[in-house]
């Protein structure tokens, strides 16, 4: 009898967890809607947003460029090994470019952005909440969501596609360095085959769309977790962890959905 009770207890708790997560998603969606509607300040006083683009975008440049470079170099190394077996080593450029532009650029840049900029945004907003700076702003009749949260949201959304493009560009350059300069693949074939195979609308545009979607998702999660954090040191630290984990999962899940929508199906 007690086993049934214990099982029922566990099921109830599972149900409660699921419902609370669903409720939280609804709450987060309302938060996003409010945030977007009250973005007037962030746009009118663009200085605020520019400062946030600096903190989210510019300060992520180093990690994005270096990572992109290395990813491209590894792609070229690994890709050459396999392509050479089919006598297709001249398609190395195609391999590197398509992998980066379609997938690795948006996804890896998104993951790096989530861990560097996303966690920083969450920590910042969470700490402002813990030290009552948010309450102080409310007391001074300033809407903290419009003044603090919205600029950070738009800063992240604007930075993300640019970072993804920079990642892909750095990666292609890294692939060129290893493929052409190091291994000796023909430079002309490298670039010309790449140009023939990479389609502006299908590949590059879709990659940009992906990075915009990821940017919105990651920044939304970051600002929400920060604003919703329990205002203690432990609460803020847990919120930053949640940001990184949830953002990463969201990026990978959205990547699957977007790839399925964009890159498969029919005669195209």
């Amino acid at each position: 009898m007690t086993q049934i009770a214990a099982l029922r207890g566990r099921l109830e708790r599972l149900g409660a967890t699921v419902t609370s997560q669903v409720w939280r998603l609804g709450y987060a969606s309302r938060f996003l809607a409010y945030l977007v509607l009250h973005s007037g300040t962030a746009l009118r006083r663009f200085r605020l947003t520019i400062a946030e683009i600096y903190f989210a975008g510019v300060l992520s440049l180093v990690i994005i460029l270096v990572s992109g470079l290395f990813v491209g170099m590894v792609l070229a190394l690994q890709g050459y090994e396999t392509l050479q077996r089919f006598g297709a080593s001249e398609s190395l450029g195609v391999l590197v470019a398509l992998s980066l532009v379609r997938e690795l650029g948006p996804v890896v840049a998104g993951l790096l952005f989530a861990s560097r900029a996303g966690s920083a945004i969450t920590a910042e907003i969470g700490l402002m909440k813990a030290t009552e700076q948010i309450s102080a702003m409310e007391m001074m009749a300033v809407d903290p969501i419009a003044r603090v949260v919205a600029p950070r949201f738009w800063g992240g959304v604007i930075s993300m596609p640019l970072l993804a493009a920079l990642f892909s560009a750095a990666g292609i350059f890294g692939g060129y360095l290893v493929g052409v300069q190091l291994i000796g693949v023909d430079a002309g074939a490298f670039w010309s085959q790449m140009q023939a195979a990479v389609d502006l609308r299908n590949d590059i545009m879709n990659g940009v769309i992906k990075s915009v979607v990821f940017g919105v998702a990651v920044t939304w999660i970051s600002v929400f977790e920060g604003y919703d954090a329990v205002p203690t040191a432990e609460g803020v630290s847990r919120a930053t962890t949640r940001t990184v984990v949830t953002s990463s999962l969201a990026i990978l899940a959205l990547d699957f959905v977007l790839t399925a929508l964009m890159f498969t199906g029919g005669n195209s």
């Binding site: 700076q133 309450s135 102080a136 007391m139 001074m140 003044r147």
Partner: protein
Amino acid sequence: MPQAPIVEIQDVSFGYDAARPVLRDINLSIARGAVVGIMGQSGCGKTTLLRIIMGAYLPSRGTARVLGRATAELDGAGLYDMRRRMGMLFQFGALFTDLSVYENVAFPLREHAALPDDLMHDLVMLKLQAVGLRGAAHLMPTELSGGMARRVALARSIALDPQLILYDEPFTGLDPISFGVIVRLIRSLNDSLGATSLIVTHDVQEALGVVDYVYFMAAGRVIAQGTPDEIRSSPEPFVNQFVNGKPDGPVPFHYPAPAYAADLEVAVA
């Protein structure tokens, strides 16, 4: 003709959920120009009462009238309008850590008044001068001591010349000198601005020295009220214990526990 009180709390009860009321049947009235203290043990509900006066929470029962309007009737715009006429000093200052001292004090001015830079500069300097920190205008909050940070926060809270100034535990963690400074500032700012001040604190002796009237709270109710002298000589046992700092009394020394003999490992003969 007596002016309407700045703050009027009538039969207010409040609880975060219905089962556990935090405030019960509170009645309070604060006249214009007065410096009033709300005192009590930690957890007696005084900070919650402050939040209700601020308009952050709405009373579950009763009315809270602040600056002439009931908080329950205010819409978003009305709430912001009310808050622009209030200033609040948070427990540890709550300065914006990414802005300098000057920018912190200028913050409410920038958000609410479109002033030319030179006029804003003079206003900020005026407020900083009033709290004695005009020379620290270029420092960042992390470079300030606790007492200085609180003074800057005070300057920020009076930036828009509020009619009502709220203090949430203003004396916590201050050294005696900073203490004296804050005490002096509370009184002088109140009088020079023609404002009304409400101090929530559990620092009894110091607060009794600066306020005109005291409300004593315990377990969510007002159990005593009066002038500082009346409070000091109050027959109410809890007030007596609190004011004189006695370790035992209505608030017991021992946390509820089973019988001592039963709890000991070695049997008592």
